[in-house]
């Protein structure tokens, strides 16, 4: 599903050069649930951004769903984000002026998709996260956990091949965090590949594999469960703890 080879990311200013990622090799198989962990500034979010084509690597190659996406145009990257990737953000990133229906509709509007098909997908997605009765509510009328479920519904409505979750439970209390995590596990069990950034070791252990980053490099990998397909053992073997 996702294959990175010697990926580096360097942020440059006039005075400073910051190596956010150094020669990362990463292989995520279809159906896998991977947790990215590590201290602040270790490069987790940068790796997530590169995976989701939100920014570009300085060097290295990146194959997503078998396609080399290392040097695509902005337009092509946007299309791939829209059609193949679902995003879940720590702060939910719902649009406060839109009701739940319209929030879930946002990525679908960027596709050439009829209103009926969009409506079906939105209703299914909100049904899946248990919020179909609140479609006309605004995000401000929901709890944090409910808002994150709407964000998950928004990610799922596009029927992405893989989900990128950036600290999806970071702003939630433990009960809501557990509910969201259970939802992600359910989604993964139905075949969607998930890469999740988390600080929480408990949550990381619920993934199939946890990759720890330190100073922009993979410092260790732990296997916790069986994924739909086995990860590429050669790529990860050297760094397994």
């Amino acid at each position: 599903m996702l294959k990175m080879n010697k990926i580096s990311c360097v942020y440059q200013t006039d005075l400073i050069e910051t190596h956010a990622l150094r020669d990362i090799d990463l292989n995520v198989k279809a159906g896998e649930f991977v947790a990215l962990t590590g201290p602040s500034g270790s490069g987790k979010t940068t790796l997530l951004n590169l995976s989701g084509l939100l920014e570009s690597a300085t060097s290295g190659t990146y194959l997503l769903d078998g396609e080399d996406v290392s040097s695509l145009s902005d337009r092509q990257r946007s299309s791939i984000r829209n059609e193949k990737i679902g995003f879940i953000f720590q702060s939910f990133n719902l649009i406060p002026d839109l009701n739940l229906f319209d929030n879930v509709d946002v990525p679908l509007r960027y596709r050439a998709m009829g209103i009926e098909e969009r409506r079906r997908r939105i209703e299914n997605a909100l049904e899946l996260v248990g919020l179909s009765s609140r479609m006309k509510h605004l995000p401000s009328q929901l709890s944090g956990g409910q808002q994150q479920r709407v964000a998950i519904a928004r990610a799922l409505a596009g029927e992405p091949k893989f989900l990128l979750a950036d600290e999806p439970t970071g702003n939630l209390d433990s009960l809501m965090a557990r509910q969201v995590m259970e939802l992600l596990e359910k989604i993964n069990s139905e075949g969607t590949t998930i890469v999740m950034v988390t600080h929480d070791p408990e949550l990381a252990r619920r993934a199939h594999r946890s990759i720890e980053l330190l100073d922009g490099q993979i410092s260790s990998t732990q296997l916790f469960g069986v994924s739909a397909e086995e990860p590429d053992e050669k790529t990860e073997a050297e760094s397994v703890a």
Binding site: R75, S79, N82, V106
Partner: protein, 402 residues
């Protein structure tokens, strides 16, 4: 297109949008009416006069001393002026048309004392004066030299046997179209026969509704001053002014020149008030449009800054750059259109008020769509910059927590 969600977003944060829509409405109402008034004034200023204003030099001088002889001075001056290369025609006239000064009286086409007279400007001039003015004869002929009355004859009450009148006056006096050859009667019952009809010629006062009603009598009234019209070859006017001045100053006559200028300058002064009004309104239009444009830029920039993360999220979820540009342009267009709807009503209301209070003409409705189109274009241009900036927001903003 996402008009419904955008409209919904506008209505949930309506203060800024309403204020801008009110500003747009006021701008449209004022600009439409101002444009209409400016157009009316410019049309008024630019009316065809029938006179070859651009190629005429107007000269006036005052004689003094006991040796001064008016008629002799006029004849010798005209001879000198006509001899200057580049001068096509030179003639004397009692007052300059379009100067703001002249003589007016009531005229009729009948001896019936109860007949309603028609007001008209009248001038005394010689044969050839119509050539010096550059006016065209629609029918008839110019004066014959024998028809020109001397100053003494005029003083002794001799009535001119012939008269030239403008077509506009002819149509008022002789609605049946038989002016040529008929008699025109003055206030004292004296009559002159119409020998020629001038196609078009403006009289003295630009604001007078009888401006097109003019008579020219053949004569050279006794006067201490002279008024000459010197019509030059096209493009020669400015070059000839110093030469004309020099020639007249060298003539050994007891008089001084008190006016020597292009006729266009003199006419321009007659329209000074109208020009001031038009220019003032143009400044108001430019200021209002600029302020409204800045208001649109301001609100659009504020909304872009306020929604940086939202835009980043949209980009992360797959929006192309043009989707973002379109979003902000559509949002701006909706706000502008709200202002335009209210502004259209206000434009007609304002015109009704100015028409009833200041007797201004009724607004030509074509100015409203022109104004609306202008405001829409202004809105797009003003919002384009902020919209473009928004489209350049990185999708990576979506994952930033601060």
């Amino acid at each position: 297109m996402e008009i419904r969600p955008i409209l919904s977003a506008i209505l949930r944060n309506k203060t800024g949008a309403i204020l801008l829509a009110i500003q747009i409405a006021l701008t449209l109402a004022v600009v439409v009416n101002a444009m209409f008034i400016v157009q009316q004034r410019l049309k008024f200023i630019g009316r065809p006069t029938g006179i070859d204003i651009e190629n005429i030099i107007v000269i006036s001088s005052q004689g003094f001393g006991s040796s001064y002889d008016h008629e002799q001075t006029v004849f010798s001056d005209l001879e000198l002026l006509r001899a200057i290369p580049g001068v096509k025609y030179a003639a004397h006239i009692s007052r300059f048309p379009l100067s703001g000064g002249g003589s007016r009286s009531g005229f009729t086409s009948t001896t019936d004392s109860d007949a309603e007279s028609v007001g008209a400007n009248y001038y005394f001039a010689q044969n050839g004066t119509i050539d010096a003015l550059g006016v065209k004869l629609a029918a008839g002929r110019d004066f014959l030299p024998t028809e020109i009355l001397t100053g003494e004859q005029i003083d002794n009450g001799v009535v001119a046997s012939s008269v030239l009148i403008t077509k506009a006056l002819a149509e008022k006096l002789f609605p049946d179209g038989n002016a040529l050859g008929n008699l025109v009667y003055g206030g004292t019952g004296d009559s002159s026969r119409v020998v020629g009809i001038i196609e078009k010629m403006h009289g003295a006062w630009v604001s007078w509704d009888g401006l097109n009603q003019v008579l020219i009598f053949p004569g050279l009234r006794k006067d201490s001053g002279q008024r000459y019209l010197v019509r030059t070859e096209p493009g020669q006017r400015d070059r000839l002014i110093p030469e004309v001045e020099s020639v007249l100053e060298k003539a050994s006559v007891s008089r001084y020149l008190d006016r020597m200028e292009p006729m266009s300058e003199m006419v321009g002064r007659s329209y000074d008030n109208d020009r001031v009004v038009a220019n003032g309104l143009i400044i108001v239009i430019v200021l209002l449009v600029s302020i409204t444009g800045l208001g649109i830029v301001g609100l659009a920039s504020f909304l872009v800054r306020q929604r940086t993360k939202q835009v980043g999220t949209r980009r992360a979820l797959g929006a192309q750059k043009y989707h973002i540009v379109r979003y902000f342009l559509v949002e701006n267009w909706l706000i502008t259109t709200m202002g335009v709807v209210v502004g259209t009503v206000m434009a007609f209301g304002l015109n009704y008020w100015t028409a009833t209070e200041f007797s201004l003409p009724k607004l030509d409705p074509v100015f409203v769509p022109v104004g609306i189109l202008g405001i829409w274009v202004l809105g797009v241009l003003a919002a384009a910059g902020p919209a473009k900036r928004a489209s350049n927001i990185s999708p990576a903003i979506a994952t930033r927590t601060v």
